[in-house]
Amino acid sequence: MTVEAGTAVITPFADGLSYAFRAMGSPCEVRVETSDLALAARLGECVETEALRIEYKYSRYRPDSVVSQINTAQDEPICVDAETAALLDYAAQCYRLSGGKFDITSGVLRRVWRFDGSDRVPSRAQVAELLPLIGWDKVSWHNPNIQMPHGMEIDFGGFGKEYAVDSALIKARGQCDVPLLINFGGDLCVSGPRADGGRWQVAIESVDQAGAVDGRLQLSSGALTTSGDARRFLQKNGVRYSHILDPRTGWPVKNPPRSVTVAAQTCVEAGIMSTLAMLHGARAEHFLKRERLQAWFVR
């Protein structure tokens, strides 16, 4: 049985219905433990609406998004709404908490770093030229007014999708208490244990072979995210460059795990902690162990 609901597809799984759609460049899924098709459609639509709302509002690819408005303001201060202000406050706090490792202004590095499996590693001069345009501490942020120095950019790529998962879960739970799992391209969270009190089964996709499984996890509450460089790297003169860039140097982190899956209370936390773990390079495992978070690594 497959039911089309708009562009979404509803299919049954073991104990419920799965509502699948595309948003934020990723396959997205809502698993609802119910046999009520209308309920699954309603919850799925609620989640999809929230995902699209956040994508439209914060995508850096959309010229009318809030992020584009901020980035193209040309030194003019922009007054932002409460939600954007909360996200910027959060980004500012993460910047301080991570000692500058987590930085929403680091996206300009994409201009020279393209992780397409090739050997096109940028020159030291090319990277050094961009460093003056990176650093949250150079941005003037006085809630609710933000003013970007010329040439600098922000994006919420570091936690936007995770935020959408958490926010969509809150919206869905405001509608109904039926157990559900929300998964946006591998960033997922659950509303709680399954109806029978059991745990949700989550497979970790292999970093080497799409479709193959590297491990299975069981989850009864909270969220899981995975960071990795499965197919995103550069290789030159026998050196493998990971796609994890340190905003402070503009260069890839040395020896990060190929993939790390982190469990936390919310998707945003799991996502930021897995990013921070990757930024610790060879000491990623040590970092997450010290933070006492459950994590699963592939080296």
């Binding site: 609710p144 208490d177 945003v268």
Partner: protein, 470 residues
């Protein structure tokens, strides 16, 4: 592999609290909340806990309209109170608020005299000066009588064993509250406000200001506020002299009182599920605090039968202090509010109260919120059920049951439903009951068989609609 949560490290712990703050916006959006004004008729000894707390989402106009219906058992006070408020929050987080309240109260209030085995007749001045004809008021069972020398007085008689109630009670009150909160910078706010309320025989005007500051990544908020109030009492027939014998003559001039209060508080995010608030408040009231319409019986020292009725007298100064601890605890989508308060004043009243309210979301944007409140207070040191004939008069005395030792319980339930996208319809029903001792430990004569406690039991219903324009 199974995942279990252990004690977290410093980064993830800090991140957890930050994330909870971040997601509050989504949560607030998913559940529009409203706070109806419902406690104003309850325990009246509290100093305001927080002044002028206005804030909202940026660039919105929140409109809240509600009607309160209040009914005391035994046909006593009945009130209908429509309210309307508008809060405008601009892009910078500055908020302007206006609230209008109109009360219409009718019914009967205890006049302060004890019950008795005999019928009791009370004589008061007329409420309207210059009334010339004798009339019978249908609701008040009182008559206007032309006395010796052409003085017109009002009289009413209370049946044997009935609680003496003055039925001529009717009033309208209008109140206006204005507030302005300014977001000074990312972490601090300053507010000012004022209110004016007017009854036929009472006017109150107050101004307040407050300052709050967020610390520790907004996980701690410190606040301090102050309030100044000036009240003017214009009793219908003037202000009686304390302990004067009640009669039909016009009394003394209008009276005033002033009150200053300060509240200092800390709000702390403990973890993502738990927010706690601690407040200390202190206030000084100076001036006329008597109830100009309230008597106290002087009874015969052996029979307990009434000899005369005197006007009551209270101290002109009252210093109040209270501490308050409130907690908001999230249990999944269910949110519990648990709070406790201890209060003490220079009149000798010490009170303890505890309250729990649990907000439970149901299907399709509906919720229910049961609540329970318990209140206990000790008596003011000048509270007396009656005075004894022949004994010297005390400096102060009042038989107002609100100054006696009593317990009060409130049980209620609120239910709401989201309508349109940003609106909410809600209804709140509450049952309030005071219980207290029937009299002093060794009552005199006939008073041993009378219940001298005149506390109230009341039912109130609030129906309201709240809407946020974006």
């Amino acid at each position: 592999m199974q995942l279990r949560r252990k004690r977290q490290g410093s980064v993830s712990r800090a991140l957890g609290i930050l994330t909870a703050n971040l997601l509050l916006i989504s949560a607030a959006d998913a559940q529009v909340n409203a706070q109806p004004g419902s406690k104003q008729f309850a325990d009246n000894n509290d100093v305001n806990q927080s002044h002028n707390d206005t804030s909202g989402q940026a660039n919105t106009v929140a409109v809240d309209t509600a009607v309160l219906f209040y009914q005391e058992d035994g046909g006593r006070v009945q009130a209908v109170e429509p309210t309307g408020s508008v809060v405008y929050t601009n892009n910078w987080g500055d908020a302007f608020s206006v609230k209008f309240t109109s009360d219409s109260l009718t019914g009967a209030t205890p006049n302060g005299a004890t019950r008795s085995t005999l019928a009791q007749t009370f004589t008061t001045p007329t409420r309207g000066v210059g009334a010339t004809s004798t009339v019978t008021s249908a609701s008040g069972n009182s008559v206007l009588v032309t006395g010796p020398g052409g003085v017109i007085v009002r009289q009413y008689t209370i049946a044997p064993n009935a609680l003496p109630l003055d039925s001529g009670f009717r009033d309208n009150r209008y109140a206006l509250d204005l507030g302005y909160t300014r977001q000074l910078d990312n972490v601090s706010k300053w507010s000012i406000g004022g209110s004016y309320s007017q009854e036929r025989d009472y006017t109150s005007i107050s101004v307040n200001t407050g300052y709050s500051r967020d610390l520790n990544h907004k996980n701690t908020t410190l606040s301090i506020s102050g309030n100044f109030e000036y009240d003017r009492s214009r009793p219908y027939f003037g202000s009686p002299t304390p302990f004067a014998v009640i009669d039909g003559t016009q009394k003394g001039p209008n009276q005033t009182k002033t009150a200053i209060s300060v509240v200092a508080g800390v709000t702390q995010v403990i973890n993502r599920y738990w927010l706690t608030q601690f407040n200390y408040s202190a206030g000084q009231t100076s001036g006329y605090q008597n109830d100009p319409y309230r008597f106290i019986s002087v009874v015969d020292a052996t029979s307990g039968l009434p000899l005369q009725y005197l006007y009551e007298g209270r101290p002109r100064s009252r210093f109040r202090q209270s501490i308050y601890l409130g907690n908001k605890i999230a249990l999944g989508p269910t949110v519990a509010d648990v709070s406790a308060r201890v209060y003490h004043d220079s009149w000798g009243i010490t009170s303890y109260s505890g309250e729990i309210a649990v907000h439970i979301p149901l299907v399709a944007g509906t919720y229910v919120e049961p609540l329970a409140r318990y209140y206990h207070q000790s008596a003011a040191n000048f509270f007396q059920y009656y005075l004894v004939g022949g004994a010297p008069l005390p400096t102060y005395a009042s038989s107002d049951s609100r100054l006696s030792k009593f317990n009060a319980t409130t049980f209620g339930v609120k239910a709401g439903i989201k309508v349109l996208t940003d609106g909410e319809l809600y209804v709140l029903g509450e049952r309030y009951k005071q219980t207290g001792a029937a009299g002093p430990p060794n009552p005199i004569g006939i008073l041993a068989n009378e219940n001298l406690f005149s506390g109230v039991s009341a039912t109130s219903i609030v129906a309201g609609f709240r809407f946020v324009f974006k």
